[in-house]
């Protein structure tokens, strides 16, 4: 059964979110709302130095503060974990360097924000006062701050026991190298570009926090954490601390966003868990906003070299990419894998026969990087979409024409890419045509020409970005081939209660996405019940013991599919009971609107409610059938899904000041079948603004000493609704053949598409002034300088 867009029912409707009343009225409980009388509060003393030996830690002033009870160094805490380190689950190459990463540093601090000591106190306030009063004596060491400096000759070493700052080099080209050389040798046009992906601070609305609550009598521990991954966190905590898994429970309360930064196993989670087991008392920590800037992972951080070879018509024959990626000082959960997630997609949505990708990742004395909304794919899309615009200029055609000449054709699916992926479905040209029409490209170009002709200081620019991404992480066997340390399946249980209410248990862990709403709509349509009669349970390993959580736009395509399949299984069982009750063959039954009917004999019918009750009493079930209506499914997807789209940004650039105003934004996305367009639009709006934020506003700026300069939200410019452009959205669904609902995923699409669209627009606005590139973020000062440089020196 496939859910089609014209099917009557809830799927496809703009149903308001179930989650919102509790969130909007303050009823929802976040980690810091937990009342835990008698809890020990942890304050973390963080390194003020990017690289330094820790010579001494003096806690005497802290211990004089009322309510501060202990000050513990990394040495003091060593017995809690020995050499046990924070986990990295993705050893991308056999020789990848993974230096031991202790929850609290011993001996040397390796980035500003590295934990060097902890304070245990009676309250959060005392913990903060105590942490501020601890005096750490540092012996500064030379720091490696910028990516390219890490691989320069004579660079200081981030890890003294390693030979260099290189973490690994990973490549993808197989035996294709000669063909690539030939393609470049024969090319009529070659584009060679270098782009910078600045570091970004994820800044979810709710910073992190955790609380570990032991039950000493039985040796159990419950870890509450503002995490995206309670299931993975449970396994990892068990492994790192040696707590038997059957004694561990992990709960994610309401979580205020993550964007990937809560897809991790953090020092504080391990620290609180270990201390709680040792002390037999609850131990908790709540991250401060300023603390979060350095203690939570950051995103991006790459230097990209991309080359395109094309024939005289602009048909691309080869793409060659070399990346330098910044790991930061240590590897967190999936740090090394992030560049690889983009590594398959540097050909974008184009049919390019020759493909070469190589990434060298390096350590720097900065906060570790890891997955941040899009994880690898925004970087890939940025590079190829910027380079395609350069190619268009070189060939002398419009951005839309260069894309049209290179798109994978709608008739080419399933399409096997040169990077080795099989793309499920798409119609990239139709999507682009829709976007062009919606954006009124002709009108904008006329306006652009008119402003140029009149010498106006307000230039108009139009920027394209056509993207394809891989979502629905992931077929477990593919992950194995990438040396990822876990599978990519998802689990679901569906139960129907005696009174015909439905309980869905999902292993997918929402932190703002709207799973409860969407899962209810899917199941309601399948069973013919009201979505309000469906309850969705999640985020607690005691309730939902099996799962792999939420990241990489996987929830619907994998977790939602598991729910769909479990519901189908329940219907199959109900059908057998209905056949038994109606004394008919199962094959003669049809099920719609919650009622089983014998085909051709409409009066012979039985509602699901009757079957649910019969399954509960078990008085009269077919021979050998177990009571109750319940089914469990673990779904391992056969392939990724490949959402795609074309976004068009229109900017007005004030050439006197360099100010960029995003005046229009059109997005046409193919995320497959949409369960709830309202939820889809919410994801796309937020995603676009987050991508535009990288293009125009956000930058984790480090000075040459390795200090994060933009460490607060006055200096790190997260845009608000006031900066948002007018979003004009449309869609063009090509249902994915990979899963029964035809869904693909939409959580990262906007972020992946937006940054190149916006920067391409800025460059388009200024190209006649000689500007060919503008670094991100395109701040007014950066744009003004780019114009001045192109015009031959500052004015």
């Amino acid at each position: 059964m496939t859910i089609t867009e014209d099917a009557p029912g809830h799927v496809g409707s703009r149903r308001l979110r179930k989650e919102d009343p509790a969130l909007l009225t303050g009823e929802a409980k976040f980690i810091d709302d937990l009342a835990l009388p008698g809890a020990i509060w942890v304050g973390v003393v963080r390194s003020s130095e990017a690289h330094a030996n820790i010579v001494g830690i003096d806690g005497s002033a802290a211990l004089e503060i009322d309510g501060v009870n202990e000050v513990l160094s990394g040495e003091d805490l060593a017995p809690l974990w020995g050499e046990g380190a924070l986990p990295c689950a993705w050893p991308v190459t056999p020789d990848m360097k993974n230096p031991a990463h202790l929850p609290v540093a011993r001996g040397t601090a390796k980035y500003v924000g590295d934990a060097v000591a902890v304070v245990l106190a009676d309250s959060r306030y005392a913990a903060a006062d105590g942490a501020a009063a601890v005096v750490v004596d540092y012996e500064p060491l030379p720091a490696v701050v910028e990516i390219e400096d890490a691989v320069a000759d004579g660079a200081p070493l981030v890890h003294a026991d390693l030979e260099s700052n290189e973490c690994y080099t990973w490549g993808l080209w197989g035996d294709n190298a000669p063909a690539i050389e030939a393609a470049f040798a024969e090319a009529a046009h070659v584009v060679s570009e270098r782009y910078l992906q600045q570091r970004l601070i994820p800044a979810p609305m709710e910073p992190r926090g955790c609380a570990a609550v032991p039950s000493p009598a039985g040796g159990e521990l419950t870890l509450y954490s503002a995490t995206q991954i309670p299931h993975i966190l449970k396994v990892m905590t068990a492994v790192v601390l040696g707590i038997p898994e059957n004694k561990l429970r992990v709960v994610a309360p309401s979580v205020g966003g993550g964007f990937g930064c809560k897809l991790n196993v953090y020092a504080e989670e391990i620290l609180c868990s270990a201390l709680a087991m040792q002390r037999g008392a609850p131990v908790r920590w709540t991250e401060g906003r300023a603390e979060a800037a350095v203690s939570t992972i950051q995103g991006r951080g790459q230097v990209q070299h991309i080359e395109l070879a094309a024939d005289a018509d602009g048909k691309v024959t080869a793409v060659r990419v070399k990346l330098l990626a910044d790991m930061g000082a240590y590897l967190q959960l999936v740090t090394p894998g992030v560049p690889l997630l983009g590594g398959f997609l540097y050909h974008g949505c184009y049919d390019i026969p020759n493909y070469m990708f190589e990434c060298t990742s390096v350590f720097t004395n900065r906060t570790p990087t890891d997955a941040y909304r899009g994880a690898g794919r925004p970087e890939a899309t940025y590079a190829v979409e910027r380079a395609m615009d350069s190619l268009a200029v070189s060939v002398g055609v419009s951005p839309e024409e260069i894309r049209a000449r290179n798109f994978i054709g709608a008739d080419a699916f399933p399409y096997e890419s040169a990077a080795g992926l099989v793309f499920d479905s798409g119609d990239y040209q139709t999507v682009l045509d829709k976007a062009v029409a919606l954006a009124d490209i002709d009108g904008r170009r006329a306006e652009q020409a008119q402003r140029r002709a009149s010498g106006s200081s307000k230039r108009i620019g139009v920027g394209f970005s056509s993207y394809v991404e891989m979502c629905g992480l992931a077929p477990s066997r593919v992950l194995a081939s990438l040396d990822y340390g876990a599978g990519g399946w998802e689990a679901a249980t569906v139960r129907i209660s005696p009174t015909c209410k439905v309980q869905v248990v999902t292993g997918s862990t929402p932190h703002g996405q709207g799973h409860e709403t969407c899962w209810s709509m899917i199941v309601a349509d399948q069973l013919g019940v009201d979505p309000d009669d469906v309850e969705v349970l999640h985020s607690d390993t005691a309730v939902s013991p099996t799962g792999l959580d939420t990241y990489g736009s996987r929830s619907l395509a994998v977790g939602g599919t598991a729910v769909y399949m479990a519901t189908e299984k329940v219907i199959d069982k109900a059908r057998a009971i209905a056949a038994h009750q109606l004394e008919a063959s199962e094959d003669d039954l049809e099920f719609s609107g919650g009622v089983f009917r014998v085909r051709g004999t409409p009066e012979a019918e039985v509602p699901l409610a009757g079957i649910a009750f019969a399954a509960f009493t078990a008085h009269d079930l077919p021979d050998g059938m177990e009571p109750n209506l319940e089914a469990h499914v673990t779904y391992d997807p056969p392939n990724f899904t490949f959402p795609n789209g074309t976004h068009i940004a229109v900017v007005e650039v004030d050439t006197d000041t360099g100010d960029v105003d995003l005046i229009d934004y059109v997005a046409v996305d193919d995320c497959g079948v949409q369960i709830n367009p309202l939820v889809v639009e919410g994801q796309v709006h937020g995603g676009i603004l987050q991508g535009a934020a990288q293009a125009l506003y956000e930058d984790a700026v480090y000075n040459s000493d390795g200090q994060l300069v933009s460490a607060n939200l006055g200096d790190y410019l997260v845009p608000s609704a006031a900066e948002a452009p007018r979003f004009r959205l449309d869609s063009h669904a090509t249902p994915s053949p990979t899963n029964p609902m035809g869904v693909k995923g939409v959580g990262e699409a906007g972020t992946i598409a937006a940054a190149p669209a916006v920067i391409n627009a800025v460059v388009d606005a200024l190209r006649d002034l000689g500007v060919t590139d503008v670094d991100m973020p395109a701040s007014p000062q950066t744009v003004w300088r780019a114009i001045a440089d192109a015009q031959g020196g500052a004015s």
């Binding site: 000041t657 930058d699 410019l717 006031a722 000062q781």
Partner: protein, 272 residues
Amino acid sequence: MIPAAFDYEVAESADHAISLLGEHGDDAKLLAGGHSLIPMMRYRLATPSVLVDVGRLDDLRYIRTGNGTVSIGALTRHSELEHSAALAEACPMLASVAALVGDPAVRHRGTLGGTIAHADPASDLPAAVLALGGTIVARGPGGSREIAATDFFTGYFESVLADDEMITEVRVPASSGGWNYQKFNRRAQDWAIVGVAVAGGGAGVSLVNMGSTPIRASGVEAALAGGASAAEAAGVAADGLEPPDDLNADAEYRSHLARVLTERALNAAGVA
């Protein structure tokens, strides 16, 4: 992001506040809207041991006009300036500048007295009062004194206000002549990277975030008085200044912005 411990006192009147300041010395700070002081306390850049809350002194929340003067109580919120019909009539520039401060939440808490006392060179209203030729009324243990805005600001977050003095009122002349305010920032809620206020048809011109205090652009004023065009006068806007260098703008770009924005402000104010 957790402030150091402090005590908290509620002032019943301006005189009570002043006596509490005298009692606690320079460990004490007045708390008005709290939208400059509390962020600094959360970063522990300010660690007063006593806060004297003047936020409830409603008798210092007023806008009075008459005799060519507008008198505004120190505890008047930015949003009250923004929405006052009397102010829109008597001194529209001040109302319009108030509407550009921060975001609605900031404007509903922040006070005129607070923003003047805080003496942030990047703030909007101090520069507007400076361009308008305003007067600040400060009360101390020995009574009140009037300080011309041009004499008030002495340095980065510093003014002539004594530790035991409180601003009670700000006065500006009812405005005549063209005016304009240019605020250049990246997000709607942010302080100006550079701002320019033009009052009285060019008689008063001031600059935001171009030095350690709000700055009266006397070079521009003099050029205009000497018959220069708007473009010519704007050309000297940054002369002799040492603008700050930060993530948004270095000194060279800031100087450029000051010239561009001054010309725009003069043109918009109708200064030929």
